[in-house]
Assembly symmetry: C2
Homo-oligomer: 149 residues x 2
Amino acid sequence: MNSEFTIAVHSLVLLAHLPDHMATSEEIAANVSTHSARIRKVMGFLRKAGYVSTKEGIGGGFILSCKPEEVTLGEIYRLTCQGTLKPSWCSGDESKPCMISSKMDRLMGKVFIDAEKQMENYFEGHTIGSMLEQIRALECPQLNTESLS
Amino acid sequence: MNSEFTIAVHSLVLLAHLPDHMATSEEIAANVSTHSARIRKVMGFLRKAGYVSTKEGIGGGFILSCKPEEVTLGEIYRLTCQGTLKPSWCSGDESKPCMISSKMDRLMGKVFIDAEKQMENYFEGHTIGSMLEQIRALECPQLNTESLS
DNA sequence: CAATCTGTAACGGTTACAATAACAGTAAGC
DNA sequence: GCTTACTGTTATTGTAACCGTTACAGATTG
């Protein structure tokens, strides 16, 4: 799996942690530890899907436009990674007379689709809000006043 | 995911379809559509785990040494791909004072491990035997006399 | 118009993956 | 004992995916 799913989740959790704050791609990139152009690319998907609002120009940036406890990781997975579980490499050869060789790719395709659904089902049980809660739970309450980066 | 899982499953299903037949790495490779050295590498894992027996020299090759209906895809997944779901790329930075940035990688690590367990759980519901049955079911019964490759 | 930001495309480096070649070791048949 | 046919293993090259980076057009503010 590529890391756009991770970047999307991290960015949304960060924005949920900073309500009413316009975060620039530079700020988010520093927090995620990647380049701002990459953040802008991933945020583009999230904007089109309605999870964040963007503002160009001075004072612009990204801000959450959804309720963190209503956005599941399953939605984010589908948005960023759906269909990537199956390797692009294909086993067998449809033109071969052997039924194993000619049918294996189709069969494995089904298996990977179903396996991915199982995984998505697990992701449905987690939200951006619950992720933020888990991170806060790892932190001592009295230390929760640290700065952004 | 890399394709060794697919190659292992394909090879085992093929061997299950050819009981009492010593198949060489060349024969299996032709059926899977890859090179014999790659088959030998994957079959090495399967041999060490006891799923196949090998014989070197003239008349040698690979033969199944397990009951197809007792070998689950879950076992094969763990043997070939366990731990590969999480991207190697890490988001955040443990040394940062921000709790989101410093804890996100650890949290995502847990999420990916649990997601992978869900997937393995699905794979447990399928066996080499059931895969072979499904392929046979796709085939017209009266056409089941085709040759190996 | 100048400054600051998003949106997007393009390029280069690096890493992971697959194909291929090469060769040592082993077993069978003569 | 020699040849042949196979596994087992490593090394090398080709190739595609991924990530970092640069560049620039477009939008917005002051």
